[in-house]
Structure formats: C-alpha cells, structure tokens
C-alpha cells in the first residue's frame, strides 16, 4: 500500500531518464503506472464491497503519535479508483496534446507527483499525513497551473490558486490539530468512532469552522471560488484532472470523510447546504454567461462542488447516497468533457464555443463522447447523470433545514444545466460549418480513447445502475453515513415529484438553450457588477501586502549592510547583555592556572593573527593571517581531544585559502573608505561584542542549567550504534537527520555557486 502511494513520486523522479529513452512515446509507458494502480485498487473491490476495511500502518514519528497509516474503505477506494483510472487517460492524452512541448518532461514529473499526492490524501488514515498530502497537492497543482510559466496570466493564476488553497490549508491544519487533541488521537479510523466526543466538546464550533475554511478554499466554495476558473490557465489535461477526480474534490472528500465525526449537528446542516447551494447556483449561472468552452466547464465544476457540499451538509441517508452517486457521475462526464474541450481547441484553434459548428462529420468519435457526457451533465435519461439528478431532487425535498431555499436553487440550477449541456453537446458539432483558425481534424487515438471510454462508462452506469451500486457506491455510503437501510440506484423511480421536477427543468432548459445567445447578450451588464466580486478583494489584499512589504523594506533595509549589522548587533548586545546581567552573575576571570606553554603560545598567535587580519592594508597579509587563525584553531581542536575537528579544520582551511586565491585576488585592493569617526564607532561596537562573548563564555563554563544530553551518546555509542568514534556515530546515526539537512545546505551552496557563475540572465533570454 505504501508503495502504491509512493510509486507516483518514484516514477516522477525517473521521468528525466525515461524521457531520454522513450522520447515522444513516454506517455504510453507512464500510463502503465496509473493503469496498474487501477487494477491494484480494483482488486480490493470485492473485499470492500463485502463491508471490510483495509488498514495498513507504518511508524513515522512515533514520538509525536504520527503514523503513516492508510485506510482503504468504500470512500477512499472510490476516490483511489477515480484518481488512478482517470489519471491513466490523462497521461495518454497529455502526451499527444502537448506533443513536442519543450517542458513536457517537467509536466510528467508534476502530474505524477500530483497523482501520488492525491492518492496519499484520500488513503491517509492519519490527520497529519493527510494534511501533508493535502499541501503537496496544493504545491504540485501550483506547478501544473503555472505550467506555461512564461505567461504572466499563468503565473498569476497559479499563485492565486496556491495562496487561496494554502491559506485555507493553514486554517485546516489548526482545525485538524484541534480535532486530534480533542479526540486524543490523530488516527482517522479512531476519530470516526469518537464523533460524540468532538461534537460535545466546547471546541466543536471552532474546529468545524477552521476545517470548513480549509475545505471550502480547496473545493472553491463561494466566496473563495474565484481561483478555480482562473486555474484554466493550465494545459487542458491538467484541468480535466484537477476538476474531475482530484484537487477540488479533495475538500469534498474531507467533508465526506469527517461526516461521521463532525456531521449531524445543526451548524453542519445549515452552513454546508447554505454555501453549497449558493456555489451551485453561482457556478451554473456563470457557466451560462460564458462562451469559452473551458470557462463553461470550469463553472459547471463549481456547480458540482456546491451540489456535493450541499448534499453532504443535508446529511440524510438519501443525501449521502445522492452525493456519492453524483460524485461518480460528475467525475466521469467532467473528465471526458474537458478532454473533448481540449481536442476541440487542439483541432480548431479556438476555445470560443460560438465560433465552432458542424464538426460532427469531421470528429465523429469526439462528438460521440461529447454528446454522451454533456447529456449526462444535463441529467437526461438514460445516462448516469439522470439517476444522480433524480436522487438530488429527492434528497433536497427531504432535507430538514432550508428546504424551500435549497429546492428553488436546485431546480434553477438543473434548468440552466440542461441548457448548458445542450450548448456543449450540440453547438460545436451541428449546424453550419464555421471557419476556424486552424483546419479541424479528428483527434488521434491517445486523445479520443479517454473521453470515449469515460463517456461510455457514464452510459453503462446509467443503463446498468446496479453495477456501480454493488461495486463501490454502497460501500462508499457506508463509510460516510454508516449502516444504511435502503440505498439502491434505478433509472425508474415511478411518477413522483422528482420526475416532475426533472421534466419541468428539461422543458425550461430547452427554452434557455434556444435563447442562449439572446439571454447572454442581455446579461452583459453584469460584468460591471462582477468586477466588484471576491476576486477584487483578493487583489486588494495582495496589493496591501505588497505595499506593507515595500514600506517595511524601505524602513528596515536601507541598503547599507553595516546598518543592518549594527541593528542586529545592538539587539544582540541588548538582549544577551540584559539576560546575562540580570539573570546570572557574570564574572571576569583571569585564572590562567594550569595553562601549558604551548597552549598559551597558540592562543596569543590566534589573537595576534586576528588583529593583523583586521588592521592590515594588504589583501595577501589578511589572507595569510586568516590562515594562521584557522590553523591555530585547528591546533586547539587537536590539543583538546577533538581529532576529527582538527583534521576537518585543516582541510577546510586549505581549501579556503585556495578559494580566496581563485577569487579574492581578482577583486580590487583593500581601500580605506570609512572616516576615522566611523572606524572609531565600529571599533567600539566590535570590542563591545567581543567582550560580551568573553563574559558569556566565562559565565557559561561554570554553569550547568540542564543535564547534558551527551551522556546518552557516550553510553550508547557502542552498544546501540556499534561505533567507537562517538562523534561519527552522532553524525551518521543518532542525529543523522540533522546531518542530512546540513549536507543539503552544502549541496545548495554548491549549486548556488555554479548557477551564479554559469547562468547569466542575459544568456538565458537568448
């Protein structure tokens, strides 16, 4: 299981080599991984459908009760299948769609890493590791949205997505940690059984609001929805992936996951449906106003996210069932619609749906996929989307809070949905052929297989609803809702109110479809109103932050290094001096008893050399003196029982001198630039700092505030670490993590040197 989650990261790391090996055909090889994962996860289906759970746990940071544990139940299995299944098609598609793109290997790296993060997120059984994966998806999606990084718009959208989701992530982290400490465990499987403890605690409201901020930002609920349409700056396969099964569904996933422990309170039943319904309607309304095909689809994703949030918020057995059904239906049709949109864009050279027409004859397979998927979105029988919509109506009718408000918005959304579905299914493909920027052609195999398969699945699920129900949905409902009484899918519910509503919405939807161009033109004036939307708030906040940063930079960073240093040093003298003189008894000792002759000579030599280095007028003199200081310090190490340090110091000292020879002598001679007054001031500061450290050291050597931890290392080096050089055992075993960080710093410094010398800004532009 761990390998299944991490394999995406591992493969991502191998992409550069594979790319050299396979070039343009790499997408076929890479798609094998998600395909394999799909099969792997599918093999759990019988077990999960039978009501079992798979729980795998690895110790990660046992001292903080953080396990790397994975939970596979109905909900996470459904997500895992969607992520890996759709991921397969996305990878295939991308290889063709982005064929010949300069940064293609980078794309594969990011999308594989993103897929792995997403899998980790839905499979995590620990709040902390869930959060880590959550943030990883934010970061990798930032890379993906900003893939066309040379475009300002891409960079801006990517940053916007990152700031909104990571900002929400902060709130989420606070909420998760609060929840963990209230429940007394960070293991999700245990928290789910402890729902009452959390609901009864005084912190419940705080936890809920913090977690909701996190999930709403990720799942783009009003008023944090603006980043999602902008994220369309990403290449189309990415949009398809982000919108159908991943990223934005992460918030919905978390809500569904935590439903047993946070749900079933009045607060939950009001906040979620309220925001969900508003998002649902806003999304669909905005979609109706747009003509760019990707924008339309992005707004319908908002609609779907709102619907799911609303259904989870309603929280009845029927609503959860509807949510799971809707989620599956949406993933299938949205992925294929986005891929179709990409093919259309690729083939015609325009994204504007009003500029396309009559493509059915040229692109038959794409047309087939588009019609099936769009009708599923519109909720037309016998497609899967119809079943989902019927259940949605039923659930809203049965809801206990805000019923009429929700019903009005739902029905209005459904009407607009029919119209939009019709626009996407019919406008580009039928009617008169229109001139497009490039000559249209059918998409290649890699680009039609995904949408066609997914759209066909949508049809199959609609015709044979017991397949998804037995296979996965009933298990998913169990994990979100608990034991249910009756949950089944069927196309025919009888002549009831939901069916009436469906028929009514289709009738009005058809009218809205035919009036699309006219009504859209009437709604243009709204542009001015929307200019004052939440996005403007985001931009104002960003501007404010930049302004503050500039202001405080002007004040604190005036460009004179020595004033920074003087500020720092004054603070140092003030704080350390204050603590030293008020908390302890600083003593000035001249106790040189027991100092051996050679040691005294070395000490005097070091100080003399330092003084020479500081006062000489020759660069060579300074370099030599610094060398003397270094070797003197090395001797001190050797004399006082630190052979490792002595050797290291000597070697580094040699290399330092070499470095100075290579660079320093290409710089100008020493100059005396400061005035005498400035020099006097600096000397006073320098002597003050020096004296402070002497006092500090004199006081510290006589003081023992805590028991030294070194005793542990000394005693356990041989028995535990099997090493007799204790310093080395500390470095590579006891404190290996520190050392790892340190070699990373060293590597960064080397890369920095390399980059500064080899890459010049002028050359990069070419």
């Amino acid at each position: 299981m761990l390998l299944a989650v991490l394999s995406g990261f591992l493969l991502a790391a191998a992409v550069p080599w594979l790319y050299k090996l396979l070039q343009g055909r790499i997408n076929w090889a890479l798609a094998l991984l998600p395909a394999g994962l799909t099969v792997y996860f599918a093999s759990f289906m019988p077990e999960i459908a039978a009501g079992d759970q798979v729980l795998v746990s690895y110790n990660w940071i046992p001292s903080l009760d953080i396990q790397l544990s994975f939970l596979l139940d109905g909900l996470s299995l459904m997500f895992a299948l969607l992520i890996s299944g759709i991921g397969t098609f996305i990878l295939l598609y991308a290889g063709s769609y982005l064929h010949g793109d300069r940064d293609l290997p980078k794309f594969y790296i990011f999308i594989l890493a993103f897929m792995a993060s997403m899998l980790g997120l839905v499979l995590s059984n620990n709040l902390i590791s869930l959060f880590v994966f959550w943030e990883l998806t934010s970061i990798t999606s930032y890379m993906l949205i900003g893939y066309h990084h040379e475009q300002l718009k891409s960079r801006k959208s990517a940053l916007q997505g990152l700031l909104v989701t990571v900002g929400g992530g902060m709130a989420l982290m606070a909420g998760l940690i609060l929840m963990g400490s209230v429940a007394g465990t960070y293991e999700i499987s245990e928290i789910l059984n402890n729902g009452d403890v959390i609901r009864d605690s005084g912190l419940y409201t705080g936890i809920l609001i913090l977690i909701l901020i996190g999930t709403f930002s990720k799942s783009a609920q009003v008023p944090l929805h603006f980043w999602l349409p902008n994220a369309m700056a990403a290449p189309t396969p990415v949009s398809a992936y982000l919108h159908s099964a991943t990223m934005v569904k992460a918030g919905v996933y978390l809500l569904a996951r935590l439903n047993p422990s946070l749900g079933e309170t009045e607060l939950w039943h009001t906040i979620l449906p309220l925001f969900g319904a508003l998002t649902m309607f806003t999304g669909m309304f905005l979609a109706y106003r747009s003509t760019e095909i990707k924008k339309i689809l992005a707004y319908t994703t908002l609609m779907a996210l709102g619907t799911l949030t609303m259904l989870i918020g309603i929280g009845t057995e029927l609503a959860i069932g509807a949510a799971m059904t809707f989620l599956l239906a949406h993933a299938l049709y949205k992925a294929s619609l986005f891929l179709v949109a990409g093919s259309l864009d690729h083939s015609t050279g325009t994204k504007d749906i009003t500029k396309m027409g009559g493509l059915a004859r040229i692109m038959p397979i794409t047309t087939y996929a588009a019609i099936l998927a769009a009708l599923s979105m519109a909720g037309i029988a016998p497609l899967f989307g119809f079943i989902a919509k019927e259940m949605l109506f039923e659930a809203v009718l049965e809801s206990n809070y805000l019923t009429s408000f929700l019903l009005v918005l739902t029905v209005a959304t459904a009407m607009l949905g029919v119209a939009i579905g019709g626009v996407i299914a019919l406008r580009p493909f039928f009617g008169a052929r229109k001139e497009t920027p490039s000559k249209p052609h059918e998409a290649p195999f890699a680009m039609w297989i995904g949408p066609a398969t997914l759209a066909t699945l949508g049809l199959l699920c609609g015709l044979l609803p017991f397949l998804p129900e037995r296979g996965i949905l009933s298990a998913a409902v169990t994990s979100v809702y608990g034991e249910y009484e009756s949950f089944y899918l069927t196309l025919w519910h009888g002549f009831n109110l939901p069916l009436m509503l469906s028929i009514a919405s289709i009738a009005v939807g058809v009218l809205l479809f035919f009036g699309w161009d006219a009504i859209r033109a009437r709604l243009l004036w709204l542009d001015k109103v929307f200019a004052y939307g939440p996005e403007r708030g985001y931009e104002k906040a960003l501007d404010g932050m930049n302004w503050t940063a500039q202001w405080q930079t002007r004040v604190l960073q005036n460009g004179y290094l020595r004033y920074y240093l003087l500020t720092i040093l004054a603070t140092l003298i003030g704080l350390v001096g204050y603590t030293l003189f008020t908390g302890y008894e600083p003593r000035l000792l001249f106790d040189f008893v027991g100092v051996q002759f050679i040691e005294a000579v070395i000490a005097i030599l070091i100080v003399l050399a330092a003084v020479v280095a500081a006062t000489t007028h020759s660069r060579l003199g300074a370099v030599v003196s610094v060398g003397v200081v270094g070797f003197g310090v090395a001797l001190v190490y050797v004399l006082f029982s630190a052979p490792d340090l002595g050797i290291t110091q000597v070697l580094v000292e040699t290399l330092t001198v070499l470095l100075l020879v290579l660079v320093l002598f290409r710089l100008p001679e020493f100059l005396d630039l400061s005035s005498t007054a400035a020099r006097m001031r600096d000397a006073v500061v320098a002597v003050a700092v020096g004296s402070l450290f002497t006092l500090l050291l004199l006081t510290a050597t006589e003081l023992q505030l805590h028991d030294p931890i070194s005793q542990f290392f000394v005693e356990n080096s041989e028995p535990e670490g099997h090493g007799r050089n204790i310093v080395n055992v500390i470095l590579v075993d006891f404190r290996a993590l520190d050392t790892l960080g340190e070699i990373f710093v060293l590597a960064l410094a080397a890369i920095g040197v390399y980059a500064m010398i080899k890459f010049r800004a002028e050359e990069y532009k070419k």
Partner: protein
Amino acid sequence: MTSMPSLILSTAARVLLPLLVLFSIFLLLRGHDLPGGGFIGGLVGASGYTLYLFAFDSSAARAALRMDPRTMVGLGLVIATLSGVIGTFVRGEPFFTSQWWEVYVPIFGEMKLSSPLIFDLGVYMVVLGSVMTIVLTLAEAEE
C-alpha cells in the same frame, strides 16, 4: 592553470591523486570507529582532486573525477536519504532507524554493513561533489 605547470607538481599530483583518493575512502570506511568519516573523507578526496587541478587544468581534473560533481552531489543526497528509509520499508521502523547486517567479504572476512555507513557514503559524495563543483566552476571561470 594558465601558467606553465611545474614538472615536479604534475608528477607529484599524478602519484598523489590515487593515494589520496584511496586514503579518503579508507577514512570514510574506518570513520565509525576511529577519526574519519564522510565529511573528512570527502574533504581529503576533494583536496586530492584540487591538487590535480592545479597541477594540470580543470578539464583534466574533470576527467579524473569521471563523474560530473553535480551528479555526485545529487546521487549523494539520494543515497543519504534512501539510507534513512531502509528501516521504514523493511521493518516499518521510523525514518533513520539504523539497520545492521553482517556480510562476509572474501579476504576481509566478516564486515559490518550498516545503513549509517551508507548514509556516510552519501555524506562523502555530497562533500566531495560540492567542493569539486565549487572549485571546478571557479577554476573554469578563471580560464
């Protein structure tokens, strides 16, 4: 370097380089029990190659290294990190729990192979690679 290299220096460097590299590996291997280890070993190795660089030129030193020092840095980091997850994957223990194996090597007999040793090898490669990246980059800028 640009000036004519001295014959004594170049001859000495030719002889010293393999000795210093061997010595650095020796220091690396014995580091767990006696003074030495990845940091010191890496620095000794780096001084050997730097000496070679001064005796000949940067391309000769690059050839003597055989591996691009930047690759060595990356590889070292990967090795060091992977040594930490061996225990995680094999025994489900926390990151950087040390693992020990007794390995029989012909001539040397029983040897202690351990994840800390692998980690130290990573440190060695990062130190050697980083110092050589810096020195070679600077020397090439000079030329």
